[in-house]
C-alpha cells in the first residue's frame, strides 16, 4: 500500500517518543532527525522537509508541550497537524460550476497517466449524473487519440477528436460540440510535455486562453521523486493550476510527491488514481491520509465504508458490546462475515489505527481464505462456548478441531486472536467515544 514505508518509519519514531514520560529538547531533536530522514526517504522534497521540520521543532520544544503530562502524544499531534496542513487540510471538490459546458483540462509530464485519468474522471462524473465528453488534444503521441477512443467506448462516453489538428482549435470546437450535443462537461486530454519545453507550454497557455477551463488539473505520478516540485511549480507558473490528481497510488510508493506538490503550489490534491480499472479514482482526503501515514488509521474512511454496508442499529449494539467487553465469538464470526462483504480485508485492516503496522506480521494469519476456517471452527463450537470462550478446555478444543477439520493449534490460534482483537477493539471504541463527546466524529461504529 502506498505510504506504508513512510508510515512504518514514523510510527517507530513516535513509539519511542510516546514511551517517554519526560521529554527533553534533545529527545525532540533526535526524533526530528529521524522524521527528517523518513520524509526524505519517502521522496518528500528536500526544501519542503526543511520547512516542515523547522515548523514542527519550533512548536514541539515549546514549554507547554514538554512540560505537559503527555509530551510524546503532544508531539505526535503537532506532527499530525502539520502533516495534514502540508497535504491540504480538508478535501477539495472538483469545481463543477453552473456554466454549460463545464471545462476541465488535464495536463502533465509524459507517462503520468493523463489519458486514463481523463476517462476515469468522465466515468466518475457520469455517476454524479453529468454528461461528459472526452476531448483528444494529444495530437503528438502515437495512438494517443485511439487510446482515448477505446477508453471512451469502454465507459460509454463520447470522444471528440479532430485528428492531428491544432489542440487550440480542437479544444474550441469541442465546446461547440458539447453545446450542440447536450454534453454538460468537457474534459480535455492534452499531450504529455516537459515543464521546460516552452513551445509546448505555450500551446497549453493558448488552449487555456481559448476555453478558460474551470479546472486545470496537473496529473502527477505518485512515484515521482524530488523533481515533482520543479514540475508542479512550472506548470503552476504557466497555467495557474486549480488542482492535482495523483496517479498510481495503488503502488508501494512512499508518496512524498503528494506532500511536496501541495506545499509548493498551494494546489490541493483533489483525486487519486488507485488502479488501472476505470472506476479506480477516489476523492483525496488529506487529513485522513495524514492520520493513516502517522499510524492513526484512516478511521473515517473505515467508518464510511462500514456505514455503507452496515445496519445502523446493529452497529450501535456492537459498539456497546465492545465497550462493555460483551463481545463474543459469535459476534466475532458475524463481524468477520460482514467485513468480508465490504471488500478486501487487507485494505480495511490497514485503515484501523495501529493495525497497519501490525498487519505485516499478521499477514499470513489474516488472509481471506483463513476466514473460512475461522468460520468452520466457530461453527463447531456450542452456543455456550461461543459466548464464553473461557469454557473451552483441552477436550473441548479437541472436539472442535475434529468437528471443523482443523488442528488444536488452529483452535488455539483463533482463541488467541479473538482475545487480542477484543482488547484492541475496546481501545478503539473508547477512543471513538471520547472523540465523539468532543463533537468531532460522532460515535464510531466498528463492524466487528
Amino acid at each position: 500500500m502506498a505510504f506504508e514505508g513512510l508510515s512504518d518509519r514514523l510510527q517507530d519514531v513516535f513509539r519511542k517518543l510516546r514511551g517517554k514520560g519526560k521529554i527533553t529538547e534533545d529527545d525532540v531533536k533526535i526524533a526530528m532527525r529521524e522524521v527528517r530522514l523518513a520524509l526524505l526517504e519517502a521522496d518528500v522534497n528536500f526544501k519542503v522537509v526543511k520547512d516542515f521540520i523547522s515548523r514542527v521543532s519550533e512548536r514541539a520544544v515549546g514549554q507547554e508541550v514538554l512540560q505537559s503530562l503527555t509530551p510524546g502524544q503532544q508531539i505526535v499531534k503537532i506532527v499530525y497537524d502539520e502533516m495534514a496542513l502540508l497535504m491540504g487540510g480538508a478535501e477539495s471538490k472538483l469545481n463543477l460550476t453552473s456554466r454549460t459546458p463545464v471545462v476541465f483540462m488535464a495536463v502533465g509530464l509524459q507517462g503520468a497517466g493523463k489519458t486514463t485519468t481523463v476517462a476515469k474522471l468522465g466515468k466518475n462524473l457520469i455517476k454524479q449524473g453529468r454528461r461528459p465528453v472526452l476531448v483528444a488534444c494529444d495530437v503528438y503521441r502515437p495512438a494517443a487519440i485511439k487510446q482515448l477512443q477505446v477508453l471512451g467506448e469502454q465507459t460509454g462516453i463520447p470522444v471528440f477528436a479532430m485528428g492531428q489538428g491544432n489542440p487550440v482549435d480542437i479544444a474550441k470546437a469541442s465546446i461547440e460540440y458539447a453545446r450542440s450535443n447536450n454534453r454538460d462537461i468537457v474534459i480535455l486530454d492534452t499531450a504529455g510535455r516537459l515543464h521546460i519545453n516552452e513551445e509546448l507550454m505555450d500551446e497549453l497557455k493558448n488552449v487555456k486562453a481559448a476555453v478558460n477551463p474551470d479546472e486545470i488539473l496537473l496529473i502527477v505520478d505518485a512515484m515521482t521523486g524530488q523533481d515533482a516540485v520543479n514540475v508542479a511549480e512550472n506548470f503552476n507558473k504557466d497555467l495557474t493550476l486549480t488542482g492535482v490528481i495523483l496517479t498510481k497510488l495503488d503502488g508501494d510508493t512512499r508518496g512524498g510527491a503528494a506532500l511536496s506538490v501541495k506545499a509548493v503550489t498551494g494546489c490541493p490534491i483533489k483525486m487519486v488514481g488507485m488502479g488501472e480499472k476505470l472506476d479506480a479514482l477516489e476523492v483525496f482526503y488529506p487529513e485522513r491520509m495524514a492520520s493513516r501515514i502517522l499510524g492513526m488509521g484512516d478511521v473515517l474512511s473505515l467508518v464510511e465504508k462500514a456505514q455503507a454496508n452496515f445496519d445502523e442499529k446493529k452497529a450501535k449494539e456492537m459498539e456497546r458490546k465492545i465497550r462493555q467487553q460483551e463481545f463474543t465469538l459469535e459476534d466475532f464470526l458475524e463481524q468477520m462475515q460482514q467485513v468480508r462483504s465490504m471488500g478486501p480485508l487487507q485494505d480495511l485492516l490497514g485503515m484501523i489505527p495501529g493495525l497497519g503496522k501490525q498487519l505485516k506480521g499478521m499477514q499470513g494469519e489474516f488472509d481471506e481464505k483463513e476466514i473460512i476456517w475461522v468460520e468452520a471452527i466457530i461453527q463447531s463450537m456450542t452456543r455456550e462456548e461461543r459466548r464464553n470462550p473461557a469454557l473451552i478446555n483441552g477436550s473441548r478444543k479437541k472436539r472442535i478441531a475434529k468437528g471443523s477439520g482443523t488442528r488444536v493449534q488452529d483452535v488455539n490460534r483463533l482463541l488467541k486472536q479473538f482475545e487480542e482483537s477484543r482488547k484492541l477493539m475496546k481501545q478503539f471504541a473508547d477512543m471513538g467515544h471520547k472523540k465523539g463527546k468532543k463533537g468531532g466524529m460522532g460515535p464510531l461504529k466498528f463492524p466487528f
Binding site: R36, L37, F46, N197, Q226, D227
Partner: protein, 387 residues
Amino acid sequence: MAFFDRLRRKKQDTKIQPVEELVCEESLLEEAIVPAVDLSGPEETICEPVDAMASEPFDEDSMSGQDEADEEDDQQVEGKKGFFSRLKLGLTKTRKNIGEKITNLVKSNRKLDDEFWEELEEILIEADVGVNTSLELVKSVRDNARRQKMNESSQVMALIQEEVRKLLDSSGDLSLRSADDKLTVILVVGVNGAGKTTSIAKMAYRFKNYDQKVIIAAADTFRAAAIDQLQIWADRVGVELIKHQEGSDPGAVVYDAINAARARKADILIIDTAGRLQNKNNLMKEISKIRKVIEKEIPGAPHEVLLVLDACTGQNAISQARLFEEATGVTGIILTKLDGTAKGGIVLAIARELEMPVKLVGIGEKMNDLRDFDPAAFAAALFDEEE
C-alpha cells in the same frame, strides 16, 4: 556483432564499500562531523583528482558516446549535439531557474567546511540519489579529500564525480548482450508510462541502422491502443511487428513472435510488455511466465531483460528494480526522460544495492533520442547546472 562489441566496456572492480549504518548522517543533520572511520577502502581505489573537470566544457562527441548513425534521421532538428549537451541544453532557459546553488558550489572555490559537505549531500538528495547512498558517497569522498589533503572545492567535485562514475561502471557490463550468430531476444519491462514502447522504437531504429534485421512483438495486449501505438512506431522505423488482438494472451504473442523471428531469420527480437506496478503479484507472475515462454523456446534467451525507468522516479525505483529483477531477471536499465529536469540519481542507489547497470538513456520523444549510458557524463550532469 560490431554494434554490441563497440559498446563493450571494461568492468571496473573498484567500488565504494558499503557502509552498514548511517554513520555519517550527522552532517546532513546540521551537527558536527564525527571524525571519520576510514570507509574508503584501499589506497589504490582513490582516483586522481581531475582538474577543472567540473568547469571545463566537455568534448561532446567523447562524452555522448554516440555514433553518427544516430544523427542521420530526418527528424533531427537539434543538429549535432551529444547526450551531454542535450542534457545541459535542457530545451529552454526555464531550466536556469532551478538550483543555481549547485553552480556556486562547483565554481566558487569554497572552503571545505561542514557547510560545503552538507550542500554536496543536498545536491545528491535532490537528484534522487537517496539518503543512504548520498551520505555514504559524501563520506567516502570527504575521507579521501582529507587523506589527500585537498583544500579546493573544484578538486573535490572532480573526486565525487569520479566516485559516482566508478559506482555506475562497476554495477555490471554496460553493453548489450547478444546471442552468438543467432536470434537475440530483448524483453522490455517496467511500470506504466515509463517509456517502454517509445524506447523499443528507439532501439529498433538504432539496430536497424546497424543493419540488423529487427522484429518487434506487441505483448502489451492490455492497455488501450498500446498495439496501435507500437504499430505506428514499427511503420516509422520500418520493422515488422508481430501482434494479436487487444486483450489476448501476451504469452501467445511472444511465442508467435519468436517463431516469426526465426522464420524470417531476424537478428533481434524486441518484446514490448504491458506496464505494471511491481507490487501487483498477479501481474508480476504474468511477466515471469512471459520470460519462461522465451526461455523454453530459445535456450539462453532472453539475452537482455531491460527495465525501463523514468528518470523522474524517486526512491520507489529501488522497489521496481528489486521486484522486476525477482520476476524477470533484469539485466540492465533504460533510463528515460533525461531531457527533463530530473537527474535520475536513483540509479546510483540501484547500482549500489542491486548492481544493476544502466545501459541506455532516453533523451527525448523521437526515435533517435536514445544514447548509450555514459557514467562520466551522467556523473557530471548530476552536479551540473546551466551556465
